[in-house]
Amino acid sequence: MNFELTQRQQLVRRSVRKFAEDVLAPVAPIFDKEAKYSEDIVKELSKINAWGIQLPEKYGGAELDSISYAITIEEISRICASTGLMLTVHNSVGAFPIYKWGTEEQKEKYLYDIATGKKISGFSWTEPNAGSDAQGIECIMIQDGEDFILNGSKIFVTNGAIGSVLLIGTRYKKENGQSGIAILILEKDMDGYEIGQPEEKMGMRGNITTSLYFHNIRVPKENVLGSLGEGFRIAMLTLDVGRIGIAAQALGIAQAAYEHAVEYSKGRIQFKRPISQFQGISFKLAEMATKIDAARLLVYRAAYNKDKKERFSKESAMCKYYAGKIAREVTQEAIQIHGGYGYMKDLPLERFHRDAAVTTIYEGTNEIMKLIIAQQILRGNL
């Protein structure tokens, strides 16, 4: 067993950290405050190949392993979680399924633009009446000659405003009269594709989340991902991958809060000594460090299993459940250590806490994570 990162993975951490500190640190508070993102940052991210972290080089990707991918998301999120979100959704649930289940034509058509950041991608399943109950989606497509006509809507779409290639789940009518679930590749400029107003969110404010409305969109058959009846299975396998990225993101946020807390506690003098010298504070730091370390090991293990082509459904649910949970705890304790200063918007602690909150909600709530883990255990995958 080897717990050491390879030299390549170490260099990924060092380089992405440098990039994030140089390029994202100045804009992260602005993105949060003004609930916006910038095209310049999208271009800067293209320069370091952050839009195609794992896609093959022939499509313009960097073709790195999954641990390098997790490290990249972790380091970006340590500085700007909103940008981390934009990247992780694009890479893991936008690009990955097209690469994994797409036809050669679909890959040729989309992957190069996706890998180079010319087109931002996303994945949208959630609807007003379908959240944790993922089978309950109500978008419907009806066959019309060689095409499908799509109607319905999606909510809480990450990358909703900037995404131009969106994978969405929809129902369709099977020949036997029952309904099945399929995934469609939609493009922003299709007739009848409407982007809703930006949502006002608690955190991740630099990612513009919107609803999407589909009004009689004519979608060619070639835009079905995988085979028609495969939609739900693809979605579940895709989310297994996506959760590693969300966990890495939660890990990055927790790491940032923890680093701030350590620095602050060493410099803050009360009762004539740094507050880090009081057990009440130092024990908090010890707990934070332990939780973060455990989360990191879970995240990298899930990524490792994925690359080894071993089962990772349970592992990715575990790492997402745990990293999200501890991100909330660690960011909260970091505010506590900072006292009143932690509550002020002058410091990023409250932003970390707001950003962390959603990591136990999206791509499957922590309650759903436990369901997945329990299902796996009871099926014999102890």
Binding site: S15, N49, I53, T72
Partner: protein
Amino acid sequence: MLKIFVLIKQVPYLHNLEIDRRTGTLIREGVENIINPDDLYALELGLSLKEQYDGEITAMTMGPPQADFALRECLAMGVDHAILISDPIFAYSDTLQTTLVLKEAFDNIKDYDIIITGSQTSDSSTGQMPYQLSEALDIPLITDIFTMEIKDHDFYCHRNFGHESQHIQTGLPILVRTQRHFNEPRHISLKGIKRAFEKEIEMYNFDTFNCPDYLDGCNQSPTRLVKTEKIILKRKNEVIDGTTKDKIERLIHIMQEHGIERIWTGMSQDE
């Protein structure tokens, strides 16, 4: 094709360096190593020259085997080749011995147009190497340039010299020493990292180029580091008592002692 060589050094990250009290040298174990920060400007210059003049760029370093990581970082940044000069015999070389080894390396390489260095290393701060190497190779050294151009195998540049701007023309090969913040070193791309580990790093050691016997870092270096001490900056506090006028006068006196000559207090003469 323009053959560009950038000389780099792997140095310990200065953030949390400690000194071994027994030996008086830096403790390098367990410390993160990085490319010497000043060398990044040299690398950026080399890479931009390569792009502009369709050249070929090689990063070269002398150091222990683990210095290969610094070279991987150079490859990730975009250099084409990397050379690691490493041999236990070269350990503890001072700047002169290092220069002589580098001279052997370049005599072995033969075909070079531009050698680029940073201004100094963060772990020894001598800045002697570029001067010594240009002398050893008998090629011109130009420091602190801010524009440059290569035409018909001639090198044209502007450099700052005090309040002058000098326009210089010279033939190749030359040695260029960059100054800090002269450009903005590029960020490393993920694709660069992927490719950096697919390349070979060329290894040079004592036997590679028939080194003369005097290339013995430990025993032949004319200078020797005797002791390193950590500088601790302490503030001197002085509490000034008395009336406001006394305090102001004392304050002015202290400022004058420190060479601050023009002090405007806002007080009128007769006050």
